[in-house]
Structures are given as C-alpha cells and as structure tokens.
C-alpha cells in the first residue's frame, strides 16, 4: 500500500488543537485502530499540539504549527513542528518523582511517550521543535 500523506499549516490557536485532533483521528480510523488506540492517539496529538501552540509558538499569530500525517498499511506517523525557541525535554522535571506529583503541569511529554509506540523530539530547522510519533496497528492474534 502506498503511503497516504497529508500536511497542514495551522494557526497558533487552541482551535488548531481540535482541528489537528480531528484530522489525525480520521486517519487513525482509516488505519483501523481500535477504540482504545484511537483514544491514546487523540490524547498524544492534543498534548503535542498544546505544547506547540502554547509553549512553542506562545500563541504568536505570525508563527505556524506544521502537521504532517503519513498513513501506511500498518502504521500512522505524525510529525508536529513549531516555530518557537526550542525545547529541552531534559529540563522537564520527572512528573513521577514524589516531589513533583503535586505539580500542576509537566505531564504532557510523559503521556505522549506512554500512548505512542515511537516518540522522538528534535530541533526543527530553521527554528523550533519537532516531535515525531508513530502508532502501529495491533496485529490480529
């Protein structure tokens, strides 16, 4: 099967979080993910988009969020990039440390890692942060 690819340039708004979730959800459904995996992908996309809009682009209307979704027969690969100042994941306190359990934020990256099969953060060229996430369709047993 040839890869089905879609790319979008989204505004730095919370409405874009909903748009991206809907776009990716449709692709995840087309892949045939089950209800639980659809939910997990949905959470991961929302967390990633919120990071891009809120922490990366800081709602700056001149900056865009770049979404790319590639669907093949057995997997969905999603790349979300922002145009912010960059992000060091090591700078985020471990949300599972006892001293951080009552923090009001800092759990987004952990949820993305938990819910997707592959997760990678890199520097986006020429500017910003890029997150690549992959979800595989579970093989029938």
């Amino acid at each position: 099967m040839e890869a089905h690819t879609l790319e979008r340039e989204l505004e730095s708004t919370l409405e874009s979080v909903d748009s991206a979730e809907q776009l990716v959800f449709a692709e995840a459904q087309a892949l045939g993910l089950d209800e639980d995996d659809l939910y997990r992908v949905g959470i991961a996309i929302r967390e990633c988009m919120v990071n891009a809009v809120v922490h990366g682009n800081r709602y700056n209307s001149r900056k865009k969020v770049h979404l790319k979704v590639e669907r093949t027969a057995d997997r969905l690969a999603i790349v979300i990039g922002d145009e912010g100042d960059g992000f060091d994941p090591k700078a985020v306190p471990d949300p599972l440390d006892a001293e951080n359990l009552l923090r009001g934020s800092g759990r987004g990256v952990m949820l993305m890692q938990s819910f997707m099969d592959e997760f990678q953060i890199s520097q986006r060229q020429p500017q910003g942060t890029e997150v690549k996430m992959v979800k595989y369709k579970a093989k029938a047993t």
Binding site: Y39, R46, E47, V50, L101, R103
Partner: protein, 114 residues
C-alpha cells in the same frame, strides 16, 4: 461539549458531578473555578464524581491536582468517585493513584469523610 459541573450536598459532603471533557481551555478553566469557588465558600469535603468524564488531558489532570492542593491548604480534602477505565489508566500512568483516594460507591465515599 466541554465540561458540565453540577454540585449537590450529601450531608456535609459536597459532591461535584462532572460530565464531558476536562481539557485545556474552557473545560479546565470551569473545573478550576468551580473547585476554587467551593473551597473559598468553606466546602472542605469534596467528592468529585467523574463517572461521566470521557476525556481528561494533562491540563485537566493538572487541575485535579491543583484542586486537591487548594482544598488541602484550607484544611479540606478532595476524593474521587466512579472513574472510567481511561481516567483510571491516566491516574495510574501519572502515579496520582497514590495521591487521591478513589471510590466506586458513593455511599462508601461519603462515609469515608466522617
């Protein structure tokens, strides 16, 4: 649908029935405001019924935790009731099961505040 919050009193326990999604934006804001208003009004025993919550993101989880600390700082306590499987999973992944007392039965939950 964002989130719908309905408050009722069972003895001296304030039960907040929540339905919908608690996500960044209106849902999380409404949730935060409701808990803060209840705490400010002197409600010290809060039971959050999450049976009809379909979805919580990390912002929503953050508001649950912030609500817990807000009420605790005023000498009160927040407990959780009727979590869906997905919300249970989120609390396990985030280790917040170690923070919140969780109940499946409302009567037992109310009794636990005595």
């Amino acid at each position: 649908m964002s989130v719908k919050l309905t408050t009722r009193q069972v003895g001296d326990v304030t039960v907040v029935d929540a339905a919908g999604r608690i996500t960044l934006g209106e849902g999380a804001s409404m949730f935060r405001d409701t808990i803060r208003d209840l705490a400010a009004a002197g409600h010290k025993k809060l039971l959050l019924n999450l049976a009809e919550i379909s979805y919580i993101d990390s912002s929503g989880i953050g508001e649950l935790v912030s609500g817990f600390t807000t009420v605790a700082n005023q000498g009160g306590v927040v407990k959780l009731l009727s979590l869906t499987k997905r919300v249970q999973d989120l609390l396990q992944i985030t280790k917040l099961y170690t923070v919140f007392e969780v109940f499946d039965d409302e009567a037992k939950a109310v009794q636990s505040f005595k």
